[in-house]
Amino acid sequence: MTRLACALLLALVAVPLAAEPPSAAFTTGRPDIRSLSALSFGPEGVLFVGDGKGGAVFALDLGPRAAREVEKPETVTDIEGRLAALLGAAPADVMIHDMAVDPIAKDVYFAVSRGRAGWTGAFLLPNDVADASVLVRLDAAGTPTLVDLASMRHARVALPNPVDPAKTVPWKKTSLRTDTITDMVYSDGVLYVAGLSNEEFASTMWTVKYPFAGAVAATTIENYHGAHGKYETEAPVRTFVPYPLKGKAHLLAAYLCTPLVTIPVADLQDRKHVRGRTVGEFGSGNYPLDMVLVRSEKGDRLLIANSNLPLLVVDPRDVEQYPASIDAPVETYTAGVRFIARSGTGIQQMDNLGDTHVLLLRRLAGGRLDLQPASIRGL
């Protein structure tokens, strides 16, 4: 999700990223996407679509487009109303599964489904309720259009051993397959895909070179969760960013309810099992929904949008300097690295918007769902 993180990792390993020609694996036609479960932009504006139901990741070549700089971005009101008009439905029947901002044209892409009959509980995420079936682009004027996938140039890579659809989450009664892909980030020639596999320790981080080449490596991961007082092996990473800690590439990953964990990238080897270091516990009864990295005038900041907590801001230097690993029950639900709770409840999606803003898809107190740019100044 974060270009800043990519740049940092690049600087770190000092390998120049050549403008590689797209791989020969690209074909033109309708990609066989069964669910648009997760969206994330990659190099040269390629859009990665995680297909949890299909157990695959697609790279979509959205074609040439003009670069647009965003200086004074404005709020786009009533996103559900706009999408409802486009899909010929009522706003309450529209559901947004993921959002990604095109780093080139700054258009906003949404994975969208129509109909909420499957909604039965407060803890269901959009992918638990339905399969997103359309990709929508919102332009600078706030006008949404359907992205025509019929003759899309695309490449596909299958994820080995995605979780069996028959397996269910006991407490949510949903198929684990909806969490096959929870988040994806491209960084330094590698696409990281978080989700669930069929391994004994289901929580998995897949890694594959992009342009898609070579085998997909699958590493199972676990972490200690202080609020539950146990090691978690089945809960997937909900959202993550790459970030170097003490000169070594890491993933900073947030889990349900709400530990922050660091995972060394060097440990992500195929068929290996990795135990992450839990460095923070940020509160219970909460999904971390999106995480982005920004660079304000004060330094790098990690922003975490949440289902039941406000926007949390973490200084990654605190993560770097945190000496311990939380491995005992946490009675008060919070522990570890310092975090600052900022204004920003109801943020359902978040992504970087250029270098100066983040874009928040936010449920307002009055009920409307707006797309709000937020300056990173002062964070």
Partner: protein, 362 residues
């Protein structure tokens, strides 16, 4: 009077908007028909952007807010005219507006899709199904004809006393209900704190069910299925409460009736009504090698009979019917222990099933 062919020609030459919103799964369409050949030919040369300018469909809500997009879909031109197929079917109950505007021909039409008459969901069964219930009954199962909306289901199920007053705190309130994965069976638990003796809720409020009284279980009309269609009429079931059941069922009271012929079902008569859900999986048939026999079980006679139709014909080998010790009666009493027992009473809980031998054929 004009000849028929002239009427037909005149009608054909009148451009009109035609709306098709079938309920049978065929695609919805908005078409401009009756265009003359020259206009059709011009439209055939249009790209999708120009076609989308010529024929536009908006939701009513979008029309009243400037800047809202038109409904997305695809366009085709054929000998009949111009057709717009929306990406998703039009939604029943919403209003739409179609407008065609080309070379001075302007057509407008507002339309709505008539709601489909959907048969409401209904309660297909209640277990225990008998007319009476012991005063210490533990749970009920409501079966529905369709997957139901689990959210808030506890608000729709009530127990009324003889005067029609709701019995307060009768059931454990579970916000999203205790549903099976298919969301067609709801488990309703009598508040166990009012079933077990000597615990605080029961001491304060007394038991939910009182011997000798009549009650009605009501599922209200607003209980809806997953698509939002409500029952429409309430479901009611009368219950006469009899003495509390404080005896564990005994395996020695189970009667196995051999089928007599090789393809007839086996019948197992139970000493009292047992828990309907547990009867689905905690009673089974084994062959002489201890392997489970494949077949279809049926529970009947108000949960006092378990029948089993084998997938393959019975043979002359010895079989057995096995009962899991955790099989419960309506009051939660297992074959190996009581649900509600004195603090000092010994129990003999066991995980071992009780297997009763029988022969299919004489």
């Amino acid at each position: 009077m004009l000849p028929a062919w002239a009427v037909a020609a005149a009608l054909a030459a009148t451009p009109a908007l035609r709306i098709e919103t079938p309920h049978d799964g065929r695609p919805h369409r908005v078409s401009v028909v009756g265009l003359d050949a020259a206009v059709r030919s011009r439209l055939s040369a249009f790209g999708s952007v120009d076609l989308a300018r010529a024929l536009v469909v908006h939701t009513d809500a979008a029309r009243s807010h400037p800047g809202m997009p038109a409904v997305a879909g695809s366009y085709t031109v054929d000998g009949e005219g111009l057709h717009f197929a929306p990406r998703f079917p039009f939604v029943a109950g919403l209003g739409y507006h179609a407008r065609f505007d080309l070379d001075g021909t302007r057509l407008e039409r507002r339309f709505a899709v008539a709601p489909v008459a959907v048969e409401p969901p209904r309660v297909t069964a209640l277990h225990p199904s008998g007319p009476s219930l012991p005063a210490n009954a533990l749970r009920l199962y409501l079966h529905f004809s369709r997957p139901m909306n689990a959210h808030g289901s506890h608000r729709h199920v009530r127990l009324l006393d003889e005067d029609g007053r709701e019995v307060p705190l009768a059931f454990v309130e579970v916000v999203n209900g205790l549903w099976d994965p298919g969301q067609t069976r709801l488990t309703v638990l009598f508040h166990p704190g009012r079933v077990k003796r000597g615990v605080a809720p029961g001491e304060g409020l007394g038991p939910v069910l009182r011997e000798g009284r009549q009650y009605r279980l009501v599922v209200d009309a607003a209980m809806a299925d997953a698509a939002g269609t409500a029952l429409g009429t309430p479901y009611e079931h009368a219950l006469a409460v009899v003495a509390a059941d404080r005896a564990a069922p005994r395996a020695s009271d189970v009667r196995v009736s051999g089928p007599g012929t090789s393809d007839a079902p086996l019948a197992v008569d139970l000493p009292e009504p047992l828990d309907h859900a547990l009867l689905q999986r905690w009673i089974w048939v084994e062959d002489a090698r201890g392997q489970r026999v494949e077949g279809v079980p049926t529970v009947s006679e108000d949960e006092t009979r378990w029948s089993f139709a084998p997938a393959m014909a019975w043979t002359s080998q010895p079989y057995s019917v096995c009962l899991h010790p955790a099989l419960e009666d309506r009051a939660g009493n297992r074959f190996d222990r009581l649900f509600d027992r004195g603090a000092g009473e010994r129990t003999h809980a066991t995980a071992r099933p009780v297997c009763l031998p029988w022969s299919a054929l004489p």
